[in-house]
Amino acid sequence: MIHSGINKLASRNELSEFLASVERRAYKQGLFAVHDEQVALDIVQDAMLKLAEKYGDKPLAELPMLFQRILQNTIRDFYRRQKVRSMWTTLMSSLIPQHDDSDYDPLDTLQDASNHSQPPRPDASLEQTQLLELVETELGKLPARQREAFLLRYWENMDTAETAAAMGCSEGSVKTHCFRATNTLAAALRAHGVTKS
């Protein structure tokens, strides 16, 4: 987390570096929310553009919070625009995040054992792969606010105040959301056999 005391306007370079540092996580956040690669990309593009256009002249220190706020809002917009999916599709599609055909029935892939739509994960052990899939699934199933709070706090490494600013809620709410999200994720991991002393 950059706590810069410099208030000068972010240069093109600084903005470039910031966006480069945040784009992958932003993409993943989108993916957790909408379960759709192309839509997630659109979300990130949208958010980046909005940040640059509206706040490209802000100090570098303010950009992370501003970007996250824009990102969350953009996710919410896109999420609302998506077709209402059947419960089946919503539940199952988080297992198969690569497909962007909204008419696609995840059952087809599940039944077709030879058709693995997951890309090969080169340097991951099987256990890690399974764990990752689990975490991503669980994150996708979280209520939006809980997921937001969790990811902003622990993945974007924002403090409570900044997270609250990005989410547009109180710090108390942020803590509550994080607490619940963490418990749900921990419970899922524990159920999968992951034990932590």
Binding site: L49, E53, K54, Y55, L131, L132, L185, L189
Partner: protein
Amino acid sequence: MNTENYINTIKELLEKSSSQIAPHTLESLRSARINALEHQRTQHSVPVLSWLGHQSKQHESFRSSKSLNWLIAALLAACLIIVASYWHAHVTEHEISEVDLAILTDDLPIHAFLD
């Protein structure tokens, strides 16, 4: 704390996943980033600067044709007024000739309609 360890595990896993994004997706993200930079708002820029840039060429010819369009619109209005007044006069004259004929052929004498 138990939960904290879980959080760390999750963080690691998430970091791992973000490093495993497909190359074509990374390329799309990069293009999005560059595109956003081109639209960066700076102290001296106006929002939608590039949009203006695209439009400026059209703008110039448009500005000079704008005054021409005003002239044409004024001419058109003028001739509409002319035509309208001509038509109105025509209708009025028609009415007058009807009344004149009626007076000249009515049962009553003309001076019945005089002061």
